[in-house]
């Protein structure tokens, strides 16, 4: 339940930074926070109190945490980082033309 609250708070915070802030870099930060909230929720939710999903040499099989959501989250993190990098590159490129990163001063983003 606590994790759900944290997820909602962080998700909304990220969305707030994405939607309400006029600074483009802040928007990307918001996106990052939003994605991180989802990843956090997934990991926290899939934690059933087992062990880290790595077998120890010479020990028998014991109760593990579910490895599949962790693997999926790993993929998600890498993809999120790549998209953020691309987005930041585009912001740099846009800044070459506009000399600003304030969304209010860039008309073209609105239409």
């Amino acid at each position: 339940m606590r994790n759900n609250f944290i997820f909602i708070i962080l998700f909304m915070l990220g969305l707030y930074a994405l939607i309400m802030k006029t600074n483009l870099i802040k928007n990307v930060i918001g996106l990052n926070i939003m994605e991180a909230s989802i990843f956090f929720w997934v990991i926290a939710f899939s934690d059933v109190g087992g062990e880290v999903a790595i077998h120890k040499m010479g020990e028998e099989f014991s109760k593990f945490n579910d490895p599949v959501p962790q693997a999926l989250t790993l993929t998600g993190i890498v993809i999120g980082a790549s998209t953020a990098a691309l987005l930041l590159t585009l912001i740099i490129e846009l800044n070459q033309f506009t000399d600003t990163i304030d969304r209010d001063e860039i008309e073209g983003l609105n239409n």
């Binding site: 909304m12 579910d66 590159t89 740099i92």
Partner: protein, 239 residues
């Protein structure tokens, strides 16, 4: 006034959405895990199937290796896109960097960082880590070269061409292992059983270490190219 109105609107919508999400989360049952399904099977027989101690690596590079191929292609696409978008910039090479104290002391540390990255890559199936994480640490070396010694040093040592070649090599290692899987075992990306040694050694787990190595090189080179493209000084006039 209009600004405050907008802010009020946004915040009220957010409160609504938060309530909606909360309502729906109330319905989601607690995850007890390990019910009859995929995870149960993977936990119980993942080690014997793949030979990888790290089950997450087993999932990433054996059960769902195709996802990882797609994921590394995402990085590849991002690299291509970023290089494409920022390629008009000329590089005024500079070797100012930070003070020489930092430069020299950093030199003492760098080989160990590289070694650590190789450790993370090669121990992907034994301990936490794997191709992606190790690759990022590998990229960090290139990043820190540009930071500490100036971009000229990085350019001189590992030019973008070399990095591109390394990236292609890594990608083809992955893809080639998949195709070898077709040829030898009958399925794309099937784990190569004849490579498996005793569990717990570095060369166990079939083709997973090799895939890890390919991904590591690819990710390291790709992210280094990304950073290298992004720190270049930009000019407005030329292209």
């Amino acid at each position: 006034m209009h600004k405050y109105l907008k802010k009020t609107l946004v915040i009220s919508v957010f409160i609504l959405t938060a309530i909606a999400l909360y309502e729906n989360f109330l319905l989601v049952p607690e995850y007890t895990g390990l019910r009859t399904g995929v995870s149960d099977y993977i936990i119980s027989s993942g080690l014997s199937d793949t030979g990888s101690l790290n089950l997450i690596t087993a999932v990433l590079y054996d059960y769902r290796a195709f996802d990882s191929l797609g994921e590394s292609t995402v990085i590849f696409g991002a690299v291509s896109g970023i290089v494409l978008i920022l390629s008009r910039k000329m590089l005024p090479v500079s070797s100012r960097g930070l003070s020489f104290i930092v430069k020299r002391t950093f030199g003492l540390v760098t080989p160990f960082i590289a070694l650590f990255s190789l450790y993370v890559i090669t121990h992907g199936h034994l301990s936490p880590g794997g191709g992606f994480q190790g690759g990022v640490i590998l990229a960090v070396i290139s990043i820190i070269f540009s930071i500490v010694y100036g971009s000229a040093f990085d350019y001189r040592r590992y030019s973008p061409q070399v990095k591109t070649a390394m990236e292609t090599m890594g990608a083809f290692t992955f893809l080639g292992l998949g195709v070898v899987g077709i040829l030898m075992e009958g399925f794309f990306l099937k784990n190569l059983g004849f490579l498996t040694a005793r569990t717990g050694t570095l060369i166990s787990a079939g083709s997973i270490p090799y895939v890890n190595f390919g991904v590591g090189i690819k990710v390291g080179a790709g992210l280094a190219i990304i950073f290298y493209s992004m720190i270049q000084k930009t000019f407005k006039e030329d292209f």
